[in-house]
């Protein structure tokens, strides 16, 4: 089966800050790809480059056989890609319901109504908070709301940037479980940037380890997890 997403010789960064060097990897349908690596190694930039927020200097991004490298973000969103930034991924001053409706901004109203209903079934805790402002939610709840918002547009490929950052272990576990549910029950393909390497590698199919903007490991997540040198590798200490 052809991969859903292919990244070829990707070089990217922000203006004069060249962050990513020659990345090559692919993601299959219904795969969870975990991107790990020390801080500042380019994990977030990888997602931003795929989604069209960071600047791509060279290389290609192929989605379902189509070159989408130069498409603007909202065009990519229409094709079925979704990207969740690490922070500021919900509108804090809007109510939960308004947030969900904003997520379906480009869809016909009746479709939005329908999808909001469906999503609320999957995220029941939001029901009681529909009319509360999003800023009243806890960190974990906000990440789940952001996830729910992404689902309104029914994307095929979802990219999460450190959704567990700053969360207490229990909340982080809940977020991770939801990600597994997205793949197992809804059949989504997922790229997950995760700073908590063990947590991520345990649920991932493949893993991409970035160090200083270059791929230090690309292959099975289980193998990376079993690697005794993981710690040294992860922190960029392995020679």
């Amino acid at each position: 089966m052809a991969p859903i997403l292919e990244v070829k010789d990707l070089n990217a960064g922000y203006g004069r800050f060249h962050i990513l060097f020659d990345l090559n990897f692919k993601v299959d349908e219904k795969e969870i790809l975990i991107v790990v690596g020390p801080n500042g190694s380019g994990k977030s930039t990888t997602l931003k480059a795929i989604f069209g927020i960071a600047k791509v200097y060279s290389g290609g991004i192929i989605y379902r056989g189509e070159d989408i490298t130069r498409l603007p973000p909202h065009e990519k969103a229409k094709k079925g890609l979704a990207y969740l930034p690490q922070t500021n991924n919900v509108f804090a001053e809007l109510t939960v319901e308004e947030n969900l409706r904003m997520a379906g901004y480009t869809l016909p109203p009746d479709v939005v109504d329908e999808r909001v209903r469906t999503v609320l079934e999957s995220f029941p805790f939001l029901k009681s908070k529909l009319h509360d402002k999003a800023k009243s939610l806890s960190g974990g709840q906000r990440q789940l709301l952001a996830m729910a918002m992404t689902l309104i547009r029914e994307p095929d490929l979802m990219m999460f940037d450190e959704p567990t950052a700053g969360l207490a272990p229990i909340a982080a576990k809940e977020v991770v479980e939801k990600i597994l549910w997205l793949r197992n029950d809804l059949g989504k393909t997922i790229i997950l940037v995760e700073q908590n390497a063990k947590l991520g590698l345990e649920i991932g199919d493949n893993a991409l380890l970035l160090v200083s903007g270059r791929i230090a490991y690309y292959g099975s997540a289980k193998d990376l997890l079993a690697n005794k040198d993981l710690g040294r590798l992860y922190l960029g200490l392995a020679k």
């Binding site: 004069r16 800050f17 801080n39 500042g40 063990k198 960029g236």
Partner: protein
């Protein structure tokens, strides 16, 4: 331990987020101290609280025995506390050489009246520019001296940011936020060697946030590790890097 800079029980919240949750850090005098931790662990917030850019909700900051919690950044600088920024904050209208020269404080020519009396500041300024030239020579941006920051690459901007923080001659403590991010490894090693040299020659204390542990660990004397707004370990770099809580915070339990 003889600590020159201390953060005592510092708490800083942003809305519901406790970025610093009772942090106590003691920076040993005349040493290079490394501060590590995953994203969102509060390192940069701590730097901002130490330098006075942010005021803590509670807790104290002590420099050389003096409580500086309520002081403005410029007042802390005058007491010898210098910092640089993770994302360089350069002066866009000033040349590279001017950016470096500005970082030395105490120029008698910085007044609306003394400014026009050149004899009052010529010698000081001459010395300042010489220092700046020597430093940009070391950081390998000398050939860019008459460029503006907008014409530099990301790495070169980073180098200029480091140059600036080494300029002040009254510095007691220098806080560095990721000094070698975006700099090539050879130069990154050289930067740390130079930091060691400055520590030895001028007795300056350094507190450095750095993610490139492969490079940094060889040069530092002491280390702190933070996670979720708390200090989870401190000690020699080896102790800290092998501390189970540090490994857990990076790799997950």
């Amino acid at each position: 331990m003889d600590a020159i800079l201390k953060a005592e029980n510092v708490v800083k919240t942003f809305g519901a987020l406790r970025a610093l949750d009772g942090v106590t850090v003691e920076v040993p005098r005349g040493k290079i101290t490394l501060l590590i931790g995953p994203n969102g662990s509060g390192k940069t917030t701590l730097m901002n609280v130490l330098s006075g850019v942010l005021k803590p909700d509670s807790g104290r900051v002590i420099l050389d025995g003096e409580d500086i919690t309520e002081l403005e950044p410029h007042e802390r600088f005058k007491r010898g506390l210098v910092r640089n920024f993770q994302i360089p904050r350069l002066f866009a209208g000033l040349l590279v050489l001017e950016n470096a020269a500005f970082a030395r404080h105490g120029n008698p020519g910085e007044g609306v009246f003394t400014g026009i009396m050149k004899r009052l500041w010529r010698d000081f300024e001459e010395e300042t520019v010489r220092r700046a030239v020597r430093l940009i020579t070391f950081t390998r941006i000398r050939h860019l001296w008459d460029k503006k920051p907008g014409e530099l690459s990301g790495g070169q901007m980073k180098l200029l940011e480091i140059t600036r923080s080494l300029m002040p001659d009254n510095a007691k403590v220098v806080l560095m936020d990721e000094p070698t991010a975006g700099v090539n490894p050879t130069l990154a090693h050289e930067i740390f060697r130079r930091i060691q040299q400055i520590r030895d020659e001028r007795g300056i204390t350094f507190l450095i946030v750095e993610h490139r542990l492969d490079i940094a660990t060889g040069y530092v004397d002491y280390a702190y590790a933070m996670a979720y707004g708390k200090v989870v370990a401190h000690g020699t770099p080896e102790e800290v890097l092998n501390h189970p809580k540090v490994i857990e915070s990076y790799l997950g339990g």
